[in-house]
């Protein structure tokens, strides 16, 4: 199969012929139909999150089951599925206490001593986040996918595989936003827009979108923002405090920067909770004013929206088909796998929403 291979940070991906191993007992071979090009992929492309090479990026996809391992009973050939990097073992302490997205069991990936799932003429290709979706085939653990209804368009379904689940999940699960509350979301990329949309579904009373790109702020309004702030024109923290008459009950940082994580905390009212979704580079420290803890202000992380994706993703599909979840606006362009580098370059500019790779069927 063909795949977009990353051999060195900050270098273009190259389309290469890659060999896929046969499915193990609990593995599923999926033929992707669509794969989103996510901003998180850039963190690994530019080396801010180091990853062993060669690897195949991509972690947001939907496709059709091609083949299953001998012990797989959950799906069969032909099923429509969304993949998710939050593969869970189902029996560790995290899984058994309802925190499936924090499962760290190594059993969902192959051991270093086993044949790798992906290779190029005998050379190991490191599977990215147990998925590697910039490829014509994906060999994944059965607990890294969920079945979805077949009337769901695959390009929209792909977005649910990461950005939607991360943003909406942060609102529903990590922060548990209350109806009527005041919310601010910093960063209006795919994840931030999903958080805004999630806040609207959750019934937040005031939803303030913060970004430096006007076109993204327009998108934010389309998916549920009640107010917008262009942070390049002034003091975003001060404006949020003024708009909310004292600060937000919930803030969400969806960029991955020290400064904006600190701003998310500064935008809170007493008792408020800041949730950092963005991937802050390894080694970066976040500084907070200690006295703010006397006001019971809280800050927390959110990984993949604290998801229980086999429950959440079919619900998000229903939300889309019911018109509540806005995914059409999130896709700026459909591309071929061969155009992956152009899509990654476009992401760097921060001007566009998402490019989605459509694979030939």
């Amino acid at each position: 199969m063909k795949a977009a291979v990353l051999r060195e940070a900050n270098k273009p991906l190259e389309i290469e012929e890659v060999q896929v191993s046969k499915p193990g007992p609990r593995e599923v071979l999926v033929r992707p139909v669509a794969a989103g090009v996510c901003h998180s992929d850039l963190h690994f492309l530019d080396g801010s999150y180091p990853y062993p090479m060669p690897t195949i990026l991509g972690h947001e996809s939907a496709g059709i089951v091609e083949q299953v391992g001998r012990d797989v009973t959950y799906v069969k050939k032909g099923d429509h599925v969304i993949t998710c990097l939050s593969a869970f073992c189902g029996h560790c302490n995290k899984c058994l206490t309802g925190h499936l997205s924090l499962c760290a069991s190594p059993e969902v990936s192959r051991a270093a001593s086993e044949q790798s799932r992906l290779s190029i003429q005998g050379e190991t290709v490191h599977q990215f986040l147990n998925l590697s979706s910039f490829a014509e085939l994906m060999l994944i653990h059965e607990h890294a996918l969920v079945k979805v209804r077949e009337d769901m368009p695959m390009d929209r379904a792909a977005l649910i595989g990461c950005s939607t689940t991360t943003g909406v999940g942060a609102v529903f699960h990590t922060a548990a936003v209350e109806p009527g509350s005041k919310v601010a979301v910093i960063g209006c990329g795919g994840v931030g827009l999903a958080a805004i949309n999630g806040a609207a579904i959750a019934g937040a009373g005031q939803i303030i979108a913060v970004d430096m790109v006007d076109s993204k702020l327009e998108l934010a309004k389309a998916v549920g923002a009640t107010h917008t702030i262009n942070a390049s024109s002034g003091n975003a923290v001060g404006e949020v405090i003024e708009m909310t008459q004292g600060g937000c009950d919930y803030t969400f940082e969806a960029i991955g920067l020290k400064a904006t994580a600190e701003q998310a905390f500064q935008m809170l009212c007493s008792g408020g909770t800041a949730t950092v979704i963005g991937m802050i580079p390894v080694g970066t420290m976040v500084e907070l004013h200690g006295v703010d803890f006397l006001a019971e202000k809280k800050i927390q992380g959110s990984n993949m929206g604290s998801n229980r994706f086999r429950v959440d993703m079919p619900r998000f599909v229903d939300f889309y088909l019911a018109g509540k979840l806005h995914l059409d606006e999130m896709i700026s362009k459909h591309i071929k796998l061969a155009d992956i580098n152009l899509a990654l370059e476009a992401l760097k500019t921060g001007q566009e929403a998402r490019h989605v790779i459509m694979f030939d069927q």
């Binding site: 180091p50 190594p106 390894v282």
Partner: protein, 75 residues
């Protein structure tokens, strides 16, 4: 002889050890690969040297700041 201790920047598991004690390394050569929050994270040699000792085994759970390996830079 100058010894450099290589520490983990994250909490996770040791997925694969790429270089045994006695291996000569160049700067940025991968010594071992950690697994944390679904990510494989390579631990690279900070400079040229010889691996004096690997302090962990594959499958070990490790904490942020834990010593992983000792590098002899020969200075």
């Amino acid at each position: 002889m100058a010894l450099v201790t290589i520490e983990s920047e994250i909490t996770g598991n040791v997925w694969k050890i790429e270089a045994a004690a006695g291996t000569a390394t160049e700067e940025e050569d991968v010594i071992l690969i950690l697994e944390s929050m679904k990510m494989e994270i390579p631990v690279e040699s900070p400079e040229k040297g010889i691996i004096k000792e690997i302090l962990v085994s594959e499958g070990d759970q490790i904490q942020e700041g834990q010593d992983l390996a000792i590098l002899d830079t020969g200075d």
